[in-house]
Amino acid sequence: MNALDLTVHAIRPGPDPTIVDLTLSPPPWQPKPGQFVMLRPHQFGHELTWGRPLSIYRCDTNGLRVVFQVIGRGTQRLAALRPGDTVAAWGPLGRGFQTKASGPYLLLAGGIGLAAFGLFATADHRLPESELLFGHRLPLEAYPLYAEIASAIPCEAKRQTSPADIEDFAQELSRRIQALGPKGMVLCCGPTPMLRAVARLCLEHGVPGQVSLENRMGCGVGACLGCVATTATGERVPSCVHGPVFDIRALAWD
């Protein structure tokens, strides 16, 4: 469980160069779906302070695989890694999705949030009775991970390029969540506006749900208290330790 130095085995920009698929040498641990790893390339030097929290897409004897979108300085530097480079890694971190043997599950992914569901597509973590709805802005081909996940979980993808598409997607989320009903469980990972919309729908229709937050994070181990989420009882808890996955009812949404 120590911090480790892992080696870059492969780095593949996708058809869209902002979506990057990174494989590191295998760590000696096994993550659960929804958990994340902090990655800090040695090349960050003094210039960039924090590691970057990334969902664990796959982790097996082939290595630790993360798929991320280039957003800022840190992900730009991660995207510039080359095979053989060294990356400090600490994980698996946080509380992932809480699942049980019976379904049905509705997986809702927005954009690169799809990566958080990668482990559910592996034999070890297959969910009973699940389907996935993927909302995305870039063309579907930009997300090669979609096809991988779709080979294991029934998936549907809907692209949003206009405000009307976003409204359509919101309607689709509403239909799916209502159809799932209170015996099902929603698992959601995506941009914050999507998390808020899904949380509102789950609460409104009495459907249990869990969301994976993407709060700005410093240390990843519960020390810096930068990534706190506010709970329904008004407490501020570090999402790196108490989350990143929270029961929707456990959080304050206003």
Binding site: M1, N2, A3, R40, F44, H46, E47, L48, T49, W50, G51, R73, G74, A88, W90, N215, R216, G218, C219, G220, V221, G222, A223, C224, L225, G226, C227, V228, G234, E235, R236, V241
Partner: protein, 305 residues
């Protein structure tokens, strides 16, 4: 070499202390290294009642450092004493960092903490830039600093009292001498430097509170200059803090007169950093032929001499 650091009322195995606010209550880091190997542990600033801190965002990454405006979120003294302290290993000295809004409250808090057998020393936070009351207002006014220091010393049950100084003052040596004259056993410096980051697209500050405290390697030259000046100005031991992330950094602070150091933001670059630093500092000192810290501390050949 013998890496022991002898401080008044406090002996450290080595000069490496994780800094308050960057190491949780210590327990968060137990999976990344052996806590017993550290010189001491300075825990997250404690207040009489639990505090939820400031709204988010309350951290922002900046070149070679970061800004924070956590606002002293902590579990409160009672929960710390009951639920955290008993789980820390007995072999490492625990320094309780305290925050209060008045001299009376500081005195009460100190009494409560100092009687706990496991507490080796108290550090008083008169330098937090991120709270409205207390905090740096005590650290910027010599009269207030003297009053708070004296109140804490009087209630510390003979345990060492470390006063953590703010760099956000005109002349830090004035505050250093004030704390010394009021009875401080030691000084630690520097706390964070007030700073700001803004977003030109949203035209908003990057921290919800507008400003925050800058830490990390960016502030190291400022910290080094202040530790050098304070070590010359007082006769009590000084603990150096500010952007320390390598073994070389540690020795630089000792060279300008610090007895020990606190390592903060470096723990956010990698959670095992303080542990590896213990080994690296010893190896570096040995490579310089040192057999004790005393022969090295404060031996800087001053400019112009």
């Amino acid at each position: 070499m013998d890496t022991t650091v002898h401080l008044p009322g406090l002996t450290l195995k080595n000069p490496i202390i994780p800094a308050s606010g960057t190491f949780g209550y210590g327990l968060e880091f137990a999976r990344y290294g052996d806590l017993r190997r550290l010189g001491a542990i300075c825990v997250k600033g404690l207040s009489r009642s639990p505090r939820q801190g400031n709204p988010t965002p309350r951290i922002a990454e900046t070149p070679c450092g970061m800004l924070n405006s956590i606002g002293l979120q902590n579990v409160g003294i009672e929960e710390f004493l009951e639920k955290k302290l008993p789980f820390l290993p007995a072999e490492v000295p625990i320094i309780a960092n305290l925050y209060a809004q008045s001299a009376e409250e500081f005195a009460q808090l100190t009494s409560q903490v100092a009687t706990a057998p496991r507490i080796a020393a108290v550090e008083i936070n008169v330098s937090c830039p991120n709270v409205r009351q207390g905090g740096v207002q005590f650290g910027q006014d010599p009269a207030a600093l003297a009053e708070v220091t004296a109140a804490v010393v009087a209630h510390a049950a003979g345990k060492p009292v470390i006063v953590k100084l703010s760099p956000n003052v005109t002349d830090i040596t004035v505050m250093a001498r004030t704390a010394q004259d009021a009875g401080a056993t030691m000084l630690s410096l520097i706390n964070t430097i007030t700073g700001m980051a803004v977003d030109i697209r949203t035209r908003t500050p990057r921290l919800a509170t507008g400003t925050g405290g800058l830490s990390g390697p960016a502030i190291k030259p400022i910290a080094l200059r202040m530790v050098h000046a304070v070590a010359k100005a007082v006769s009590i031991p000084v603990i150096g803090i500010g952007g320390i992330s390598t073994a070389e950094d540690v020795l630089e602070f000792l060279l300008v007169g610090a007895h020990a150091v606190q390592v903060g933001t470096a723990s956010f670059t990698r959670p095992d950093r303080v542990f590896t630093l213990v080994d690296e500092v010893t190896a570096l000192a040995e490579s310089l032929g040192l057999s004790s810290w005393e022969e090295f501390r404060g031996t800087l050949k001053e400019a112009g001499q």
